[in-house]
């Protein structure tokens, strides 16, 4: 599997750092189940995508799916660390207007307060 996830908690926000590729298959499934587990205890999640080299259409679907169900459950997911590739994909699909995207972890954490 080409996706690793590390999480830490800072000021009530769970920061999940994704490393690798978010693509259809076990990577997308892993992201879905990891976030689902975190959402059962935390309502504030920051996804750090600095080390994500690629998101395919399936991975994007998963990201939006998780985001929608988090919102429906009263939780909040913000994004930070968008590389050029990921930024392009979100730009083309206009999903950049759906997600709350921040330039840095610091700014994102501040936005949660």
């Amino acid at each position: 599997m080409s996706l690793k996830m590390e999480s830490k908690t800072t000021g009530g926000v769970t920061v999940v750092r994704c490393i690798g590729r978010i693509v259809f298959g076990e990577e997308a499934s892993a992201l879905r189940s990891t976030l689902k587990t975190i959402l059962s205890t935390s309502k504030k999640i920051l996804l750090d995508l600095s080390d994500v080299s690629y998101i395919d259409s399936g991975g994007l679907g998963t990201l939006v799916g998780v985001y929608s169900s988090a919102r429906a459950a009263g939780a909040d997911i913000k994004l930070t660390g968008l590389g050029q590739r990921v930024r392009d994909v979100l730009q083309i699909t206009k999903l950049v207007t759906v997600f709350e995207v921040y330039d840095s972890e610091q700014k994102a954490l501040a936005a949660f307060q």
Binding site: S57, I92, T93, K94
Partner: protein, 561 residues
Amino acid sequence: MAIGSATNSALERTSGAFPSLVLVQGQEQRSLVLDHSPFSIGRKIDKDLVIADPRVSRDHALILSEEGGFYIRDEGSKHGTFVNGQRVERQKLARNDRLEFGARDGTYVIFHPASASSNTAREFLSQIAGLEISTDTTDLEKLTMFLDAARKLNTTGVLDEILVTVADTTLKLTRAERAYVFLKEEDGSLRLAAGRNSKGEALIDDTTISHSILEEALHSASEFLVTDTSQSLDLAGRHSIVAYDLRTVICIPLRKPQVQAARRDTPIAAPPAESGAEIIGALYIDSRFASRDISSVSNDILRAIATEAAQLVENARLVQAEEAARRYQQELAIASSIQQKLMEVHIPEVPFARMSGRNLQCKEIGGDFYDAVSTEDHFAVFLVDVCGKGVSAALLASTLQGMVYSHLAARMPLAESVAAVNRFFTQKHLGEKYATMVIARISRDGELEYVNCGHVPPLLVSNQTVVRPEAGNLPVGLLADANYESSRLQLRRGDRFLVVTDGVTEAENARGDFYENERLEVVAARSLSLEEIFTSLASFCGGTPLNDDCTVVELVYTGIA
């Protein structure tokens, strides 16, 4: 061993475990298995055979298994039950009888038609059925005969016939009165798969057997269980044994064969079936007091039956599974050809615009497709990229195509059409399935309205310069409350509106570089045909295979003549 006169009587009556009914409705034909009695026919929905014709009564007729034969009985129907054109109240059925219910010009049923196909298995089976074993046949000869039958049948795939043959052969070998073959279902229960009596008649009812002995055999570790009720006092009181006068019951659990090849050469000295092996069914045979005593049947024969019958059933199951897989493949192939027909593009001709498109599929059925619709003053094209691949993407693509096509044909506003499609897909909760698309509609005077839903921005090539209108919306099927807006462009004669899927812009070369928008723009500006774009793409990728479908659609405004 002597092969006596081949009367074949048993085989003529039933070639499979149970007789079949073939329902003929116009050009349609359907086979039903008469595997229980009574078998009900009528207009009511709970009938075994429902015929939705007002002339058929709700409770029209029954087919009953009685005295070793099958009878049709009219249940007081209004318009009558007919066998070969004659109105009947009750009649014994013979092969190929034509049954009609109420209507004489509509649906009819053929009772147990003789199969047109005559293969070697069938011929061989007819020989088996006609075999007569002389009383002085030694056990060894019987065994050899059985094994011979087993071998030959191992190559056929007709499970029902094999099961009937197993039952028949077992009856001949043991001289018992009745034989039943049970197969284990997925849920662990036993299903009656074939039943025969020594007269060669089909038995479809297993209520008169000793189920307790059957259960006992399945749970015992032995190869077979011979129960002589006259010798065993505690058995004598059991219900079925008393009620049906059972004298000897032999039960043989059928265990999944462990080693197939090794045993072939030494059939008689076969190792006992491993008691731990998975049970796949059971063979049950019995005789009544009134009949002959079968308790002294040779253990060698029972052991051979246990191993060979299990081998037969297992092989038959494998062949059947293969057949099911083959049929499934066939269904898929049909679905695929329907899908391809649906996706076939018929480009309408209009005087003010023309369109061309090309799709390069990389692997299996892809998620890219395009189509065109012309209405009185407009010409619309759409290019869709459904996320994912394979059958699920194809299903989604077909539905999307139908919806977009019908909205365009009805001249609905573009943004509204897309919003409707989005609502449809998000309400269905398809789970992270979505599509990106561009719909463009050009009018006679060159005004182009388009809506981009999460797709790579289209290119407007005007006089060798390329403009990329960035206006865009969310993909379709992701978010229920997404808003969609269309944009407008004024095209001049000769202007080209190009839409590509991300398979083109994200095509990779050996170094892992993407084809990117810039290369596309350069080639689009100077080329006049789609071929040149694909040529450029191919030379960029070199030998690196595509990992996504590539589709390019071009709409050219030719102006009003």
